[in-house]
Symmetry: C2
């Protein structure tokens, strides 16, 4: 899935035959894969979903689950999410919630809503590949958002205008981001609000991994910080929060959400109605049942599992990586970002790794809008056992040492 | 659902408060509604879906159904659809199939793929409201497609260029179309292929109601006719067929498909990957199971039910409508299109009807790109009993007679 992500979404230049060869490799059972940025299927709350779907297909709910439904989403699910948002400090009601088919769809709609060709999107560097994929369709220009630098709103705005468009939004993946595992600091979140207020642009807060914090202190969402600044008035906020059940309950059901001021939600509802009418009715009903009964306990379970895997990977990196290699220490999520010595190339390393060491990962340059970052790689620990993590990282260490020696 | 469709999607001019008032009326149990263009939920194959979802959430399939999956769709479902296409004379393999979230999503993607602002889309007049909604986002101009007129490809092309864009595709809802219930004749289908070949544009064939033929002889899909002309080579075809399970098995699961030449599918797969990754995995697995085991028998059941309702409505119209009122005699689908005497207004009639006769329907002008057709209304018989159809049409007849007398 994730190699497909890289080789197909972004690098369409890569030939289909090459992609097929690489994917075939991944099907081989001796490959240890740190490539997939996906949940471990063995951690899915399958029993809870069995019950939820059986219940949802019984009695009057069945007709509702199999029938067309409102574009804004299943009312009880919107209510559950609004309450969940409140626990994060966001004063939302269900009128502030739109259900989307994963947060990927939210990014697509927001690209469609804001971007005209030549407009500027301020993004992290590197950033989530799927965000680039979604925004690219609307032909923006990208500028590197660096909230704690000296660049002010006027600087970003001037560059956007010089490039022939307008700055339209700042996009940030805030917690344990794909691909780096890094978290945007409280100070940077505050500063982004300042910049956006100054430039009068939207903030798109991608919170796909928000629930997966293992340790450290939780930082409030940008939308919570902004609402607090604006006297608790969500309607005065410019931040658009994108959430998802994909990393917590199930990605295959395609249920995510947007939380924002009501006029933004109203626009997006019209857009969704024109684009696919609504997200699957039955899935919304079932995921609402599972969220109501199992969310907190299930989150605790998967946090524990992923925490142990992160710990195993950090320890193995410490043990096996040579000097000159550095990596992030994420407080949650699924990813560790490794920076190799200058001159080493993540894509070349992957090729060699698949041939000799049978370890898969994602070359980092795919995540840069400008194709830079060739000496970086993304490792995911989410779908591997601790044993496999130790074995795989040891092999990678060997490979990196050999590459440095060459 | 369908009133929402009209009042929100198209006529965003209508105020939210007015929409709410009208929708509240519809919730009242004494209203007889011919408004919804939706399947009768009492005809859903609920037991089959109960089994299919239970099976899909058991064993290794569960992990597959709850996990991310390929953007092009669940392989066995693509195979079932390809075989289904073959029974309609379309020489498809599963490589010609993309699974979409309903055929609505296919229309959105095709708008996105083909239309730049100012380009021309050739459409029927009136046409499916959701198609206008999907295409409108890409700011096209519309031209009225009239295949059996004297207008040739050069005429359409010249008008498009004069308007500052290019003609990009012809869109047709081919069988028992929403809103008119009319079917595009074999001769018109042939002629559309001639025109599209001459202009080198795509044909978008909306076949959402294809399986709902009650009587008369089936006309081959445009894609089947084109493939036959082109020596059975689907790859040489310009027709893009959009199918759906929404009118046959369930709309709430959001599963439809596109069948087209492989390069078109490849483009749409990239687009889908960027827009929402894939349609819900579990739903594709479950709908595949139900299609494999119940499609033919279930289609027979719903055809019988809807045929009886159409017959009841046609008979009641004959009995209760005054001279000067005419209507279509659909051979399938869910709709009858009524043309009132000039000067009568469908929207005004609806208002009066909701006040005094408690019968809902859809004013026809909403389906015209130019807002004409004020003396038309769409009646749907899909969700009413034969008794209610008789009562409702009798009341409507009374109302129309009174309006004519005024």
């Amino acid at each position: 899935m994730s190699l497909q992500e890289i080789f197909a979404t972004r690098a369409t230049r890569m030939k289909a035959s090459e992609i097929r060869e690489l994917l075939k490799l991944l099907d081989q059972p001796d490959i240890i894969s740190f490539a997939g940025g996906i949940p471990d299927p063995d951690l899915f709350p399958t029993t809870a979903f069995q019950e939820a779907f059986a219940d949802s297909l019984t009695g009057p709910l069945a007709n509702q689950g199999l029938q067309y439904s409102p574009s804004e989403g299943h009312a009880p699910l919107r209510q559950w999410i609004a309450t969940h948002m409140q626990t994060l400090g966001i004063p939302a009601t269900s009128d502030n919630i739109l259900i989307t088919s994963g947060s990927q769809q939210a990014l697509d709609y927001l690209g469609k809503l804001f971007l005209s060709p030549g407009d500027t999107a301020l993004i992290g560097w590197p950033t989530y590949l799927g965000a680039l994929g979604a925004f690219n369709a609307y032909e923006p220009r990208y500028d590197k958002l660096d909230p704690l630098s000296n660049r002010g709103g006027a600087d970003y705005a001037a560059d956007a205008e010089n490039a022939g468009g307008k700055a339209k939004f700042a996009y940030l993946s805030v917690d344990f981001a794909n691909p780096t595992g890094a978290t945007v600091s409280h100070a940077a979140r505050e500063r982004v609000i300042d910049l956006a207020d100054e430039m009068d642009i939207a903030i798109i807060e991608d919170a796909a991994y928000q629930s997966l914090r293992f340790d450290g202190e939780a930082i409030p969402p940008i939308l919570a910080i902004e609402a607090a600044r604006k006297n608790g008035d969500l309607e005065a906020c410019r931040t658009i929060y994108c959430g998802s059940f994909s990393k917590t309950l199930s990605p295959g059901l395609r249920v995510g959400w947007v939380c924002a001021a009501q006029p933004v939600i109203a626009q997006l509802v019209l857009m969704k109605q024109a684009a696919d009418l609504h997200s699957a009715s039955l899935n919304q009903i079932a995921i609402c049942k599972v969220a109501e009964t199992h969310f907190d306990s299930h989150i605790a379970t998967i946090r524990n599992a992923y925490r142990a895997r992160r710990d195993a990977m950090l320890k193995a990196l410490e043990e096996h990586m040579p000097k000159g290699v550095s990596w992030t220490k994420p407080e949650g999520g699924m990813f560790i970002w490794v920076t190799l010595p200058d001159g080493l190339d993540g894509a070349e390393l992957l090729k060699r790794s698949l041939e000799t060491e049978r370890v898969a990962f994602v070359p980092g340059h795919a995540f840069f809008a400008d194709g830079s970052g060739r000496n970086t790689v993304r490792l995911s620990y989410s779908t591997s056992t601790e044993d496999k993590i130790r074995t795989g990282v040891a092999r990678l260490g060997k490979l990196v040492k050999a590459a440095i020696a060459r």
